[in-house]
């Protein structure tokens, strides 16, 4: 009897939202909590959770519905459709992986519920003219362009590529090759590898024999450390190691000072950049999760903040879309504005940063207006 009463009260409470607008608005969050991308997914989970918590403390109530896609586009689509048609969210943040983001983005105009992509890199996502798809982070081509302009002043002549055989790895290297051609860099080695292998020495030995000025690297958390360990072991010493985001921007990598010192990397965010609240965010994140935030965490934090603040002023997905389109923000990721430019639609023209690891700490070194330190070139052991 008592149980019945409880469930009746619960049902009544469920129906409440239909009667008035007492219940908070709903936002969906699609992320890779399991699967191959779970390592990075966890950073996004933490960043987003921090945003929600802080906004709650400020009195902005929101119900966040979290969905896992396991990195599988089919699941991401199911998750988006569930959020939109069953849960009645007015906006969605995510998904993390480019494949999932592409699939969900292609359906967003059909359901007319805005999607804010926090960290997926593939250019396509915001190049198809979708009205309901917004992206906060800079796309894949910026990773290489910013790195190459950072070292252009030193007139390097040759470049080698070592990268993971993943979507991010291949896309980033493709754009890097275009950028390198513009700079007149000669490609002397190209080594694609399968993730998870224990031995990269043969590939690295080939790169060493080609003796490039620059080595352009795309790796994930763990293989970055493995690769650089073996690079040290065989004595690979170019003028600069250029890491495109991901594995070369983690605190764990920086702490391996033996192998990480003077490695240069492109990132969406650093904790010493002069964007409002960046340093403070890093401190609070460190206190809460006892590790340093990665740029993925910062992107998810800012994306969630923008989404929730805008959504709290909107009642419908249409209003939310208009709010995202018209709004501008200035938070830990610097000035944000979703603009249409050079083929992109609703893309935040985010300036990426170049950082260098100096004695286990990331220092922003490029572009000059965001940084306090100067790039150290060439690389030495």
């Amino acid at each position: 009897m008592k149980k019945k009463l409880v469930s009746m009260v619960a049902t009544a409470m469920l129906l409440l939202p239909l009667l008035g607008h007492a219940a908070p608005i709903k936002i969906g969050f699609i992320n890779s909590i399991t699967g191959k991308e779970a390592q990075i997914g966890e950073n996004l989970t933490n960043g987003a959770a921090m945003a929600i918590e802080e906004l709650k403390a400020k009195g902005i109530q929101v119900e966040l519905i979290k969905e896992d896609d396991g990195g599988d586009p089919k699941n991401a689509l199911a998750a988006y459709e569930k959020l939109v048609t069953r849960d009645g969210v007015i906006g969605v943040v995510g998904p993390y992986t480019s494949g999932s983001a592409n699939v969900v983005a292609s359906r967003a105009d059909q359901y007319q519920v805005p999607l804010l992509v926090p960290a997926a890199a593939k250019e396509d996502i915001t190049m198809k003219g979708y009205k309901n798809v917004f992206r906060l982070n800079a796309p894949a081509n910026v990773y290489s362009s910013v790195l190459m302009s950072a070292v252009a002043a030193y007139k390097p002549k040759t470049i080698a590529y070592v990268y993971a055989a993943t979507d991010f790895g291949v896309s980033t290297v493709k754009t890097a090759q275009e950028n390198a051609a513009k700079m007149g860099l000669k490609e002397v080695a190209n080594e694609k590898y399968q993730q998870g292998q224990p031995d990269y020495r043969p590939s690295l030995a080939k790169v060493k024999a080609a003796n490039p000025d620059l080595i352009f690297l795309v790796s994930y958390d763990a293989d970055a450390i493995l690769l650089m360990r073996q690079a040290k072991e065989i004595g690979l010493t170019p003028k600069a190691f250029l890491g495109a985001g991901a594995g070369y921007t983690t605190a764990q990598f920086a702490q391996q000072t033996e192998i990480s010192n003077l490695v240069v990397s492109a990132t969406q965010w650093t904790d010493d950049v002069n964007w409002p609240g960046a340093a403070d965010f890093a401190r609070r994140y460190q206190a809460k999760y006892s590790k340093e935030p990665s740029y993925h965490a910062a992107c998810a934090y800012e994306a969630m903040k923008i989404m929730v603040v805008t959504a709290s002023k909107s009642k419908t997905p249409t209003q939310l879309r208009a709010g995202l389109k018209a709004g501008s923000w200035n938070g830990i990721l610097g000035p944000v504005k979703f603009a249409d430019y050079s083929g992109f639609t609703n893309q935040n023209n985010h300036p990426m940063l170049v950082q260098q690891i100096i004695n286990g700490k990331y220092e922003t070194v490029y572009p000059a207006q965001f940084s306090k330190k100067k790039l150290i070139y060439p690389f030495t052991r």
Partner: protein, 289 residues
């Protein structure tokens, strides 16, 4: 120089593969089961070595003295609880059971240790011996290789000289006949699975200082372990040992002279070729399949 460098690093990496392959081969031989949880057992070994190092400050190579008995016991219990119930079931059910057990292990690890990869950094993690001609040998890999050879030696001695070892061998030759001869076949299965687990965990612990530790880290080694034990001949310790080194060298040569993204294809082609041309493996006798 390329040739010598990739030969040497292939042999050293192959040593760790060999250990994983031997564990698989033993289970295959004695119990006639393809153990798809083998990679996940390796992963458990990696975490054991990691926690022994970070919490108890025991060197990963020294921690083997703890890991081997722990893993043996774990394998023994798993066999008694799950595997022995399906020992007479069709192959596919056995495979799916071990896949299920593997999923449970890797996803429990995911819940317990999160998906952040752990790096075991010892003082010698990225040090190497440098030789004339620019050839370098990784110190931790060399240590792992020496320990692997020691373990294979002890195992070979155990299997060919001790009573339990001979009983294991007899069971792998003919289960029914062994039973008729008064060998406790059920106990032999549990011992074999315990040994297989201990070897997998040892392989995991040995590779931990030069690799990374992650709940899904074992999956890379699963198909390699299968390839190795087919190559060496099911149930053959020496065969799997040599098979592991061969696979290590093939991978290394393929990345040097072909390209690193095609090296796994080369390994699988060799695997199929061995199955077709010499199904009993390099070290098996004909008719033993």
């Amino acid at each position: 120089m390329f040739f010598l460098q990739s030969l040497l690093s292939g042999i050293l990496t192959g040593g760790v593969y060999a250990l994983a392959g031997i564990g698989m081969s033993l289970v295959f031989g004695v119990m006639n089961i393809s153990n798809f949880a083998h990679g996940d057992l390796m992963m458990l070994g990696m975490y054991l070595a990691y926690f022994a190092f970070t919490l108890l400050h025991i060197d990963p190579y020294l921690s083997l003295l703890l890991i081997i008995p722990t893993a043996f016991l774990f394998g023994f219990i798993i066999e008694k609880l799950f595997i022995h119930r399906i020992i007479n079931h069709p192959h596919q059910n056995q495979i799916l059971l071990t896949i299920g057990l593997g999923l449970i292990m890797s996803n429990s690890a995911l819940l317990a240790f999160t998906s952040d990869p752990k790096i075991l950094t010892t003082t010698y993690s990225s040090s190497a011996f440098h030789f004339f001609g620019g050839i370098s040998l990784s110190v931790p890999l060399l240590l792992s290789f020496v320990i692997t050879c020691g373990i294979i030696g002890v195992l070979f001695f155990f299997l060919s000289k001790s009573t339990t070892g001979l009983a294991l061998w007899a069971t792998s030759q003919n289960r029914e006949a062994a039973q008729l001869m008064g060998i406790n076949v059920a106990k032999m299965s549990a011992i074999a699975f315990g040994l297989g687990t201990a070897l997998a965990a040892t392989a995991g612990a040995l590779i931990a200082p030069t690799y990374y530790i992650h709940p899904m880290a074992g999956h890379t080694f699963l198909l390699k372990a299968f390839t190795i034990c087919v190559l060496g001949g099911l149930g053959s310790v020496i065969g799997a040992g040599v098979g592991g080194v061969i696979i290590g060298v093939v991978e290394s040569m393929a990345s040097t002279y072909l390209s690193s993204d095609w090296k796994d294809v080369v390994v699988f082609i060799i695997f199929l070729a061995v199955l077709l041309l010499r199904p009993q493996g390099l070290f098996g006798k004909k008719g033993e399949q």
